[in-house]
Symmetry: C2
Subunit: 449 residues, 2 copies
């Protein structure tokens, strides 16, 4: 096994960082990039040329007029990734699909099709849908409560993984001489009957190059961390500072170990915002300018999102942060609670909360190429993360990372110079889960239940 190296993900058209609802104003980014397949293919090729492990596509299924601009109109992640798959050859393709509003049979099939089409490069970012309003688009009056949402998520992933084991690797002799297409002993029904799903199987798709596409997971609550520790292989998260990043990674590894898993089979990749310029000073001014494009009014509106798009514009900005009951209870609860706590602990007004959130959007990864390389290497060696998910918007900004930061990290042996495998799982150095049905004959470590 080769020396542990930093994993690299590219979040294409990531929205969420400061001023990123305004990325469409960037002269380098076509205003309609979020619906332009060629824009995505071009970025994926650049990431592949830089030997990135994966591209990552986030998602949501609910919008309001105040949603970040690129969210108002964007391509469905798996449809997009299939198009990218046939114009790339090595880079991993990770798509977000919610367990709350998709059937496990359909999810299993679509991701497995992508794994076949891409020759083993598919990954699934398992989410439960943070926007409570999503329920209204799926014939439900209300979003699931947290225990149900995450209970369904765990069972959903288990069903999907079970369906992926429907066929043993050698189930299809397809011997034209003897006329034998299938070895029926190697086709396995699932016969799952659980609390939330009943799925007989088998899947109508043979074992794929990865066998099991890689499970990514994003969710921050107690329930979310438990799900990640149970079935996640890569955790997508945020990281405000090194101490927090270390604590998060250590906690997830401990939780996984407590479930009988090898913690090396769980990688933490926070999404990070890079701001790179020739000098540290220039980089800081660049970030100031970028933060400056985020107007207070816009931030006030977006504050509503974790609270189920609660309308904060109707309150007095200089009165104490409003009592809004349990708004957000079925939305991004963890984020909503931490904002409430921030207001309470500091006695903040609404204006102070919004201003605090704008200021807190500063990235720890700002500076010259040397500085950024140093910071990344430091966090990595201190156990802050196993890799980074870099937000990719303007190509020239991404090139500052690939052309000026990566060579430094390669020189230092932090990042590998070539793809090591044909599959995403292989490049990430993750163990290959055995097929549960082949297991008995060829024992191999299974993932935790």
């Amino acid at each position: 096994m080769s020396r542990r190296t930093l994993k690299l993900g590219a979040v294409l058209l990531g929205v969420g960082g400061p001023g990123q609802h305004n990325t469409w104003l960037d002269p380098e980014i076509p205003a309609n990039a979020s619906v332009d397949v060629n824009w995505y293919i071009a970025r994926a090729k650049e990431a592949e040329a830089a030997k990135f492990d994966l591209v990552f596509i986030v998602d949501s299924q609910f919008i309001t007029r105040n949603s970040p601009n690129h969210y108002l109109s964007r391509l469905e992640p798996l449809t997009l990734l299939s198009a990218i798959a046939v114009h790339t050859g090595n880079i991993g393709l990770v798509g977000t699909l919610t367990t709350s509003y998709n059937e496990p049979f359909n999810v299993a099939r679509r991701l497995y099709s992508l794994d076949h089409i891409s020759g083993g490069r598919a990954g699934w970012n398992v989410v439960t849908s943070g926007d409570a309003g999503t329920a209204g688009n799926y014939s439900r009056d209300e979003h699931f409560d947290y225990p149900t949402r995450y209970g369904r998520a765990l069972e959903h992933v288990q069903v999907v993984r079970g369906l992926w084991d429907s066929y043993e690797a050698d189930a299809f002799p397809r011997d034209k001489e003897s006329g034998v297409f299938l070895d029926p002993e190697k086709q396995h029904a699932l016969n799952h009957r659980g609390e939330y799903f009943s799925v007989v199987g088998p899947l109508n798709l043979e074992r794929s190059p990865q066998g099991q596409p890689v499970i990514f997971q994003a969710g921050d609550s107690e329930e979310g961390r438990d799900l990640g520790a149970s079935v996640g292989e890569v955790i997508f998260t945020h990281a405000a500072n090194l101490a927090q990043a270390k604590a998060f990674r250590a906690e997830l590894r401990e939780r996984a170990a407590a479930k009988g898993r090898d913690p090396e089979g769980l990688l933490t990749l926070p999404g990070i915002q890079l701001v790179i310029a020739d000098t540290d000073e220039e980089a800081r001014s660049k970030e100031d300018a970028r933060l400056g494009t985020k107007s207070f009014d816009r931030a006030l509106k977006e504050l509503g999102r974790p609270f189920g798009w609660h309308d904060f514009t109707r309150y007095d900005l200089d009165a104490p942060f409003p009592e809004i009951g349990d708004a957000g209870e079925r939305s991004f609860r963890t984020q909503a609670n931490s904002i409430k706590k921030l207001a309470r602990d500091n006695g903040f007004t609404l204006r102070q909360v919004v201003q605090h959130l704008i200021d807190a959007a500063r990235s720890p990864f700002v500076g010259s190429p040397e500085t950024v390389a140093d910071t990344i290497q430091h966090w990595f060696s201190e156990g802050g993360f196993d890799g980074i998910n870099v937000t990719v918007n303007a190509p020239s900004e991404f090139a500052l990372f690939t052309d000026r930061v990566l060579p430094i990290l390669r020189e230092r042996g932090v990042v590998r110079s070539e793809y090591e495998s044909d599959t995403l799982r292989g490049n990430l150095g993750l163990p290959v889960p055995a097929n549960r049905h082949t297991d008995a004959r060829h024992p191999a470590p299974a993932l935790a239940p």
Copy 2:
């Protein structure tokens, strides 16, 4: 408007015709073609070179060990079509998605994403899932009964079309000068509350090149024909002989007219099996040889499919066709009933029924290139169909049609020589439905409700 010409569809790896469960034995077809994206892309390019209007991907979500071989393991249609989209430029891309086990919001979004990715070439084959066993893969004890199945289908399509109208064509000024991304007056929620679905909307994807991807429909029962007449723009069907084909087309056009639709907005494209050789005699021997590969045992097993995979091997072959109660009632009921009627009317034994079905699999489109061209032209001019959906398996067989039959039909003006439009809708000569929200300002003919 140009003269009416014959429309051309290519059903890639179509299974269903005589002996086609054995297509994998063909030396020209890779044994794993059904999971090989490159095989599909190559066939789609050939069809595009021959100026076909569309490729067509059938589907099912339930298999047994007796399912046709290529069904045991195949790629999910939309994932596959997205990969084909970015390696072709003109040909339409029609995928089968069931209304019984997919959420309308997800269907709307995936097809609309394909329409954006392909520049306006997406079509949806609306089915309700014929295999009753599909229910078991979607947490249901039983498949929906016919009225529910088709009631859901109609409402599902209406919701999807409503979501496709979420944004008016000019809803996104995306003016970098003024900073205006969206014109909120042109974003419309759906607020649908129906018998089967409640969907608030709007869709998170702007108006696509076609505005409304083309609706294909396949289903033969009273309920199925009613659905086709209500929302179908192209009907995929079978055609055993000219009289039956004419009657079917005439009936569908009448039904559509009775619903206030222009019957010219509804095209009938039966799936046909071509058997072409230098002479009529050689073609007939070729068909004999092909039918010969269909063993009686295999046909006996496959007889079970319309009856919900009822096991017919347990009956005496030479006793009268067994009384099997309502097996098939929630499966392919129309087909099951017509087989029961055949047995009853003729007093057939089980053996005679199976033998009859094997014999009935003969195609009307067998002969030399001249003969096949004559037959197609005759059926077309007699009003038997508006186009044909040709099953594409071995490339050399397909080439006999494109290289030897098509030139004759072109010479006679039956088939056009060039694409006439950038979109599938345009090539099929179908009217462009107006956006319901723009309608008031710019009146235009709407589709029937």
